[in-house]
């Protein structure tokens, strides 16, 4: 499969501060790729370089076969961008906003289709300033999709959403994937990365610390954690053989109180990888 995005040796400094120290990764067509990292790690800088907003100091970048530094209108037709914060005209309605942006593209999706995809059917004639924060973010996504792009950049798409809105957004994103779109997602929510991403890269201190499928990353830590309460105190046992330990525990002490058995989550691995970088 062709690479939708190819980054090699990307470097960027702001003055004396080197924000990106030569990162490399590639994203295949039709993949959902998650970019994780603490604030200041260089996620937004990386994404903005890929979107063509920022120039780089060194390295090569190819997005849909083109260098974003030399973005053309034809390239912009194929790329959809959702920025970190909402950027809408308050006095237009949902339909009017979508129709306005649809007019910028040569082969847009029908506005009514997009209204349905983002789940704002009931609000199609409501003015943007009457929408809730979550609804506005959905419209942001709609504006990025109305041009029917092949590649979509989503910068923290569900920040501030309540749980049910997040689930709905995840469904929408999964829907995009099944349409064959390539998606680069930055997020702070590790459950979101684990749920949606085919592969995940962790960016910390300007470097890519690890890349791989979420399942691969969590399997890096084979230990399980067993917690229970003995005489009011919490006991934690870390072991690679949880079933054997539980068996011995049961033999020795009977049914443990408040028993919990779990493996390292993506979040714990992420925190471990990025500690000291914030």
């Amino acid at each position: 499969m062709a690479a939708a995005i190819e980054v090699t040796g990307l470097r960027k400094s702001y003055g004396a501060a080197e924000v990106l120290r030569g990162i490399s990764f590639s994203i295949a067509e039709g993949e959902v790729f998650g970019l994780l990292g603490p604030n200041g790690a260089g996620k937004t800088t990386t994404v903005e370089i890929l979107e063509g907003y920022r120039s780089r100091d060194a390295g090569s970048v190819s997005v849909l076969g083109l260098d974003p530094d030399r973005a053309t209108s034809a390239w912009r037709e194929r790329v959809g961008v959702v920025l970190q914060s909402s950027s809408l005209y308050p006095n237009l309605s949902v339909r009017e906003s979508l129709a306005l942006f649809a007019g910028y593209y040569s082969a847009p999706r029908p506005v009514d289709d997009v209204v349905e995809i983002i789940g704002l059917g009931e609000k199609r004639d409501a003015r943007v300033r009457t929408l809730s924060g979550g609804q506005q973010r959905r419209l942001d996504l709609g504006l990025a999709l109305v041009g029917d792009p092949e590649l979509v950049f989503l910068d923290e798409p569900t920040t501030g959403f309540d749980p049910s809105a997040r689930r709905a957004a995840w469904e929408t994103i999964r829907g995009l994937r099944s349409l064959g779109k390539t998606i680069l997602l930055t997020t702070h929510y590790l459950d979101e990365a684990a749920q949606l991403a085919d592969r995940v890269a962790v960016l910390a201190g300007g470097e890519i610390v690890t890349v791989g499928a979420p399942a691969e990353l969590t399997s890096v830590r084979p230990e399980a954690q067993i917690r229970y309460r003995r005489a009011g105190e919490e006991v934690l046992i870390t072991t690679e053989e949880p079933a054997r330990v539980l068996h011995d525990l049961y033999e020795a002490e009977g049914e443990p109180e408040g028993l919990e058995v779990r493996r390292a989550t993506l979040e714990e691995i992420y925190l471990e990888l990025t500690e000291g970088e914030e």
Binding site: G52, Y53, L83, N91, L92, E96, L100, Y104, G147
Partner: protein
Amino acid sequence: MRLFFHELRAGQRLFWRNREAAFFTFMLPVVFFLIFGSIYGSDRIGIYKGSAFLEAGMIGYGVAATAFAGLAITLVIRRESGVLKRIRSTPLPPATYVAAVLGSTLVVFALQTAVLVVLGRVLFSVPFPARWLSLVLTCLLGAAAFAALGLAITAAVHSAEGSSAVVNAIYLPMAILSGTFFSPHRYPPFLRAIAAALPLTYFTKLTRDVLLNGKQIWDEPGSVAVIAGWGLVGLIVALRTFRWEPSQS
């Protein structure tokens, strides 16, 4: 071209739907014309009838309110809310977008001037301009120059909340000093010196020459040169400093 009109329509829709902005930008010169026209419209200002003098002045006030202040505030708000940044990620060429924003501003100013001229005729018997071609050209020149200055000033304003305060603090005193309400001939020398440095003084003078003295725009190359010069300065500054990204990016 199609994209230009598409964006221009949206620009008009956006302008008229923002009631507060539309009032300050479009209605205020008209309201002042009505109020002050009723107060001293029949008096004489120099050799001119007050209402005629005021009509020319309010066209000047209008160009500052619409082409300079209204445009600058709108663009700062759009920039700070991330709208301009988002536009840059679409295939819409930035030049087309700016042209449409300027075009929308021109439509509002043209409408404003037309309303002032019609009201002047209907309410205060100010004759329709004899030199209407010169008036049209004067308005185009003024709109272009003040829009360039408006574009230039957006780089100096860093927040959307502060934008109307800062921009109003610039254009309101300028409108008063430039003689849009009163003849600058009556000002003390110190204020006259400041007025002589302001572009609006020359635009208002040119408008008065065309509207009241029957001059053609080409009879007043001095005024034209100063207005155009200011516009050029604005254009150069704007080309160098205009930002599409919010300040806290």
